[in-house]
């Protein structure tokens, strides 16, 4: 009888747990609240430290010009990098000869770019492979391009790598053209 009760209680505990599984949206809401609180705090600080009317005007113009200039540079760099894609052969992570001119172009862009920035090289794969192996393949694709860029004179401290495996396709049709397009590296300027 006790055994029966224990079993029932065990089963019950399992189901109570399942029924109460929370959605991540709960956490997302909490994060949002924290972010909102931070924003409010910052706003209050700005209000408290507001200077006189003439100072405010002068400061605002300088800050705006500087921000705009930096923003334009970053936007331009991000736009240039978005166009650059390195493609790979099936199940391979060595750089194809026909892709070297593109890597040279990326190297030139990065060497010419001014200011502090970080570019993330994102390795991607087609759908043919198990998930773990594909992630590693994507990472190796990002790593070889990073090394090639460093060899061409790009500061390694400005480059990071990440793999998206097969979870970031640019083309979702199941055709040979799509698979070839998805075996690639992208470049993203990190904020």
């Amino acid at each position: 009888m006790n055994k029966k009760l224990l079993l029932t209680a065990g089963v019950l505990a399992l189901f109570i747990g399942c029924g109460q599984q929370p959605e991540l949206d709960v956490n997302a809401d909490q994060n949002q609240t924290t972010a909102q609180q931070t924003a409010q705090t910052t706003e209050q600080n700005i209000t408290q430290t507001q200077p006189t009317e003439s100072d405010v005007t002068g400061t605002e113009i300088t800050v705006t010009q500087s921000s705009l200039t930096e923003e334009n540079v970053n936007q331009k760099l991000a736009k240039l990098l978005t166009k650059e894609v390195i493609h790979f052969d099936f199940d391979k992570y060595n750089i194809r000869e026909d892709q070297m001119p593109i890597i040279q172009e990326v190297a030139n862009i990065l060497k010419d770019a001014k200011g502090n920035f970080t570019v993330r090289i994102e390795g991607n794969c087609d759908e043919w492979g198990s998930d773990e192996y594909n992630y590693a393949l994507g990472l190796k694709r990002a790593k070889v391009v990073k090394q090639a860029l460093v060899d061409l004179g790009v500061d390694p401290n400005k480059l990071t790598v990440i793999s998206y495996g097969k979870s970031n396709p640019v083309c979702t049709a199941h055709t040979k053209e799509c698979w070839a397009k998805n075996r690639r590296d992208n470049f993203t300027l990190l904020p």
Binding site: E23, D131, Y135, A142, S167
Partner: protein
């Protein structure tokens, strides 16, 4: 008239033969089901469970007024057991009667907090029926599955379900949430990776929603296997190189276990103080083992090439192997079962894309994914029973654990 006699004689002989064949092949016991109230959805899972357990057969027979009413054994000649079920107010009452020994062998209540978790209730009943009939326990049928599903580019969500994928609940969404693994035997905790600016390893309690950041990696970070407080990770910490690391949850320390310049992934705890993993150190992916005491690395399987994922249970190993090498056509991935002691090799699937095999805790069942162009099927292989079953899902599962 002669023809008619011949016809009946044929039927009689065929029937006789059929009986003999049934006897010789030791057919599974048959269970007749009577119910006073049992929604169709529940009936479906009761039948489905008996199919995938593959130890007994279920026939839903008659509706009765009360499950405690007297049993008329004469109605069920040819059956070994009678199962009576009644579901009311989130409570299932089950009575299992042995028609040969003329006695009740199970009489039990199963309660659930809400109707949507009914698959788990039926799986608990099926587990008990299987035990009462004296078969090898099927613990795996009661376990929860956790899996990540591709939603859109750079977006994967994590779900919890039962093994038939009937109950499904999204538990984590927003961004790339990948490679969930159960963290404890009771299945309260999962480990998973979220791709933020860098890949981050989280511990997550599926009941309380408590989330704890454990580790920030670089390039890639995947939990490949869990054993108590120890995690086997595929991680790129040094020189953006994917290697296998041992992460101790108690001390939060990391130990690099492989240092090959190519690809090492999918580490699994194996035998005494060994790991088994996939590496492309011969130019193509294959299964290797590393003795953590001696440091010696050895190739494990000499049959086939391009082994892309592996799961081990004692001396049994199952690999997913890519059998074609086509850049611009569909490729074939099949599952191979290998016993290391006897070198017995068996092909378990024939065609299609069969990947990510995972052994059940007792090693007699394998779950895997069969991928189609726009959806996945969860495959269940019953090794001793030599049967495969599939459950379809209308999206693509990328990784799972159960």
């Amino acid at each position: 008239m002669r023809l008619l006699i011949l016809f009946f004689l044929t039927i009689f002989l065929y029937g006789q033969n059929l009986e003999i064949i049934k006897y010789v092949t030791n057919e599974n016991p048959k269970i007749a089901v009577e119910y006073s109230n049992l929604p169709i959805k529940l009936q479906k899972i009761v039948k489905m469970d008996s199919t995938i357990i593959a130890h007994y057969e279920i026939d839903i027979k008659n509706k009765i007024s009360n499950i405690t009413m007297p049993i008329s054994e004469d109605k069920y000649k040819g059956y070994n057991y009678l199962l009576r079920l009644n579901y009311q107010n989130n409570k299932l009452t089950a009575l299992l009667y042995d028609l040969v020994k003329h006695k009740v062998i199970l009489y039990k209540n199963y309660k659930i907090p809400s109707f949507n978790v009914y698959p788990f209730m039926i799986h608990a009943l099926s587990y008990d029926i299987n035990n009462k009939l004296g078969f090898t326990p099927v613990e795996w049928i009661k376990r929860k599955m956790v899996y990540s599903i591709y939603m859109a580019p750079k977006e994967e969500s994590i779900f919890v379900s039962d093994v038939t994928l009937t109950y499904r609940q999204k538990i984590i969404s927003g961004g790339m949430n990948i490679f969930p693994k159960w963290g404890d035997d009771n299945q309260n905790i999962i480990y998973f990776t979220k791709l933020e600016k860098n890949p981050v390893l989280y511990k997550y309690n599926i009941h309380t929603g408590k989330k704890e950041k454990l580790l920030v990696g670089k390039g890639m970070l995947i939990v490949s296997d869990v054993k108590g407080d120890k995690l086997l990770l595929t991680l790129a910490l040094v020189d953006d190189q994917p290697d296998i690391y041992l992460f101790d949850l108690k001390t939060k320390s990391l130990e690099r276990l492989t240092t090959f310049a190519g690809i090492d992934v999918n580490g699994q705890f194996y035998e005494n103080n060994k790991i088994i993993f996939i590496s492309n150190r011969l130019g193509y992916p294959n299964v290797y083992q590393k003795d953590l005491d001696s440091g010696i690395v050895q190739k494990v399987i000499y049959y086939g090439r391009n082994h892309v994922s592996v799961s081990a249970h004692n001396n049994d190993i199952i690999v997913s192997t890519r059998e074609t090498n086509k850049a611009f056509e569909d490729n074939t991935f099949n599952l191979l079962f290998i016993n290391k002691k006897t070198n017995f090799i068996k092909r378990l699937t024939f065609g299609g894309k069969n990947i990510l095999p995972v052994f059940s805790k007792n090693g007699d069942t394998i779950l895997f994914l069969k991928e189609y162009r726009y959806h996945s099927k969860l495959g269940i292989i019953r090794l001793k029973e030599n049967k495969i079953f599939y459950f379809k899902i209308n999206r693509k599962i990328d990784s799972f654990d159960f």
